[in-house]
């Protein structure tokens, strides 16, 4: 029995994981990965089977919890955006050393072109670094199939498996054939093997040798993946294309095989070296088409040797950075296109902005007002909606680097005597990675003013629960911030005098102070109201 559903790539992965019988998904929201976990949260199958699906505080706690679930003998999945891999890297790389018990799949959603991110890092490098299998689907259907396959592969090879997608697949919808029912994975006892799970140097050396030795076998497996493909043109031109992920779709859109290209589609890594070598022998030149950084291209260069005509991002045949699309791939394939209409003069960019009525607006208005009197002030901000405070009309922040960096960068700057050093961080980002930095600041009695702009949600990614809601004062005091320097205000225009006075007082206090402007995100508030309204509508209709 199959059912056809119109699904985002993210949702197809969620369906695959449900099909594979996961016991839990662990994640911190991050575009473009958020919808995987949300789909499971809303799935009846998750409720019926008691599948864990609440949000984690950050990607590292998520990765470790997933590993714990695997240790206990159940299948687990952990999802994040590409930069989340940096946060979880310690747990991720070492999970490859311990190996797994229940199947464990790590989903990393990369964001080429940085639609919603601060860099373009390619998670496949992490997979190679950890020496584990990486799966890369091209279509929504493949995303579903690969998610199912990933758990079996993980258990068979006793390794975590990385499933890598990009924004375009994550956030594009297509019909997916879903098999009915849910696999009940074979019951596994809780792991009972400290020599595998206690990574003391003596154990780790043995595990490292075993993992390294396994690589040849993993390469062979990549060539046997059911979605690995070699398509030979009936009218070969001598040219070949090696592609993967969404790159395959653009190559096919441009009729590669009909145009005389031999085609190899990689579905799994490590790169199947022998298959590539054999394919290169059939072709006179190869174009590498991959979304993300030139991961495949660099490795192919090593396989085919320096003299072989290999083209791709490194040679400039495809753009060195940014997302692939059907047009830049067509150009790299040498397909001429007729000229297109131009964007008329006068059309100007429309950057995103903080919503009208958003509490962050009042926070920045107040900060700008106060800091006008402190020309040396620097504002260290963080990741979230409030990063938009960088744009006009506010132009209120000086830095935004990574989750939690506001507090620690403010501290480092304050250590040099910079004053006022102000940190602006959201509630969810604070519990993600701000708390440890605040402890550092308290221990050093750093002269910083921390603004935790609390809108009671993880707003930028669509309003997920925030881990510390209603406990921020308690957390700050427990970390050692003096009670009288933990101040709460309500960011509304009518309170502007009180807010600016509070900021001024805490800047003038030469120690750690925390100001918490607290007002619910107007988007989540509006959503709640709409839900209530439609509930009332339905009840009236009854």
């Amino acid at each position: 029995m199959t059912q056809i559903k119109l699904l985002l790539g993210d949702e197809a992965i969620a369906e695959g994981a449900l099909q594979a019988g996961i016991k839990g998904v662990y994640a911190y929201p991050g575009t473009p990965s958020t919808e995987i976990t949300e789909y499971i949260q809303h799935a009846a199958a998750a409720r019926d089977n008691g599948i864990h699906c609440t949000w984690s505080s950050n990607e590292k706690t998520a990765m470790e919890a997933a590993l714990g679930m695997s240790y206990a003998g159940c299948r687990s999945m952990v999802c994040m955006k590409h930069v989340g891999m940096n946060v979880a890297a310690d747990a991720f790389v070492n999970a490859a050393m311990t190996g797994v018990n229940g199947g464990m799949v790590v989903v990393a959603a990369d964001d080429p072109s940085m639609h919603s991110s601060q860099n373009e890092q390619d998670s496949r490098f992490y997979g190679k670094f950890a020496m584990i299998p990486i799966l890369e689907p091209s279509t929504q259907q493949e995303a579903y199939e690969m998610a199912v396959y990933a758990f079996a592969l993980s258990e068979r090879e006793n390794l975590p498996v990385l499933l890598r997608i990009t924004t375009r697949l994550a956030h594009s919808r297509a019909a997916v054939r879903i098999r009915a029912g849910r696999t009940e994975p074979a019951k596994r006892p809780v792991a009972d093997d400290p020599s595998s799970w206690v990574l003391l140097p003596a154990n780790a050396r043995r595990k490292n040798a075993a993992l390294t030795e396994k690589q040849t076998r993993l390469e062979l497996l990549s060539g046997e993946n059911p979605l690995f493909k070699v398509l030979l043109s009936e009218r070969p031109s001598g040219k070949g294309i090696v592609t993967c992920g969404t790159g395959y779709n653009y190559v096919m859109e441009n009729g590669a095989v009909e145009a005389g290209f031999h085609l190899m589609k990689i579905a799994q890594y490590p790169v199947p070296t022998e298959r590539v070598r054999e394919f290169a022998g059939r072709c006179g030149s190869i174009l590498v088409v991959e979304d993300g950084q030139p991961f495949l291209e660099e490795q192919l260069r090593g396989i085919v040797g320096g003299g072989y005509p290999l083209k791709g991002r490194l040679t400039g045949d495809l753009p060195r950075t940014g997302e692939l699309n059907p047009d830049n791939v067509a150009a790299a394939m040498g397909i001429e296109k007729s000229p297109v209409l131009r964007v008329p003069e006068g059309v100007v960019p429309r950057p995103p902005a903080l919503c009208q009525g958003c509490g962050h607006r009042d926070v920045y208005i107040a900060l700008n007002k106060v800091l006008a009197d402190y020309p040396a002030a620097k504002v260290f901000a963080d990741i979230g909606c409030y990063t938009l405070g960088a744009l006009p009309p506010f132009c209120a922040i000086d830095t935004c680097v990574d989750m939690g960096a506001s507090i620690t960068m403010a501290k480092g700057a304050a250590d040099t005597g910079l004053h006022p050093a102000v940190a602006v961080i959201g509630d969810s980002t604070f519990t993600h990675s701000g708390m440890t930095g605040l402890l550092d600041a308290v221990n050093d009695k750093a002269d910083i003013t921390v603004v935790i702009s609390d809108n009671l949600t993880t707003a930028m990614t669509g309003g997920q629960d925030s881990a510390g809601t209603s406990r921020f004062e308690a957390i700050c005091v427990a970390l050692g911030v003096e009670k009288e320097h933990v101040r709460v205000v309500v960011p509304l225009a009518k309170n502007m005098d009180e807010i600016t006075r509070t900021i001024r007082e805490e800047i003038d206090y030469r120690g750690v102070s925390v100001i918490i402007p607290r007002r619910e995100c107007i988007q989540t508030l509006a959503r709640k109201r709409r839900r209530e309204m439609s509930k009332n509508n339905q009840e009236t209709a009854k």
Binding site: I4, L6, L8, T31, P32, T34, E35, H115, S116, R168, L169, H171, S172, R173, A174, A175, T246, N249, Y250, M252, E253, N325, P326, D327, A330, K337, S338, V340, L341, R342, V343, P344, E345, G346, V347, V348, P349, R350, P351, P352, A353, L354, C355, C385, L388, M460, T461, G462, S534, N537, Q538, T540, A541
Partner: protein
């Protein structure tokens, strides 16, 4: 047969709901479909776009290639113009003529002139239409109605059925309001 549609607007204007309706109709009709959406940061009042590809044969690319779109369907006039490079020579622009002024200065004159210079264009005063008819929440469905006659690969009746399907969960009143909005849109679209 295939149809490539670019949906555009400003974050929060409801272009994804249009995509959901067309997507439901396409799936019910057994067509292949790919729909690339924009999530995340740009949804905060920025420019948003969604490419919708419908076909009775296999669709490979999730993205609409340049010069391939049959229709640009836009909730905002400047946002319609932004995606003109995607439109093919005989393609249609169906757009709201009501500017969303969250940028200063808004290029009012340039936008009006550029729209007037297009060969195949349907413009709708969506603000006025939704106000007069007291359907403030359904501007996006009015726009869909105006394009119903030129989508071709799906009939207006199929789209109507999908409006019922999609809004059913929100109660009969919401369904009726959106069906009315769709009819009003069809009327305006038919006139142009």
């Amino acid at each position: 047969m295939k149809k490539d549609i670019i949906l555009s607007g400003v974050g929060g204007q409801g272009i994804l709901s249009i995509a959901t309706i067309i997507g439901d109709a396409a799936t019910s009709a057994g067509l292949n479909l790919k729909q690339a959406e924009v999530h995340g940061m740009s949804q905060r009042g920025g420019e948003v776009e969604s490419g919708l590809r419908l076909s009775d044969t296999e669709i490979h690319s999730d993205l609409v290639p340049l010069g391939a779109a049959d229709i640009i369907l836009s909730m905002e006039p400047m946002e319609a113009l932004r995606y003109l490079p995607f439109l093919h020579e005989g393609g249609f622009v169906v757009t709201s003529s009501s500017p969303f002024r969250n940028i200063d200065p808004y290029p009012e004159e340039a936008v009006r002139a550029a729209l007037a210079g297009l060969d195949r264009v349907i413009t709708l005063d969506l603000d006025g239409i939704t106000r007069t008819n007291a359907i403030p929440q359904s501007a996006n469905v009015v726009l869909l109605g105006a394009a119903a006659g030129i989508i071709g690969i799906l009939s207006p009746e199929q789209l109507q059925q999908s409006i019922r399907n999609i809004f059913a969960a929100k109660g009969e009143r919401v369904v009726e309001m959106n069906l009315k909005a769709f009819e009003i849109g069809r009327e305006y679209g038919g006139r142009q």
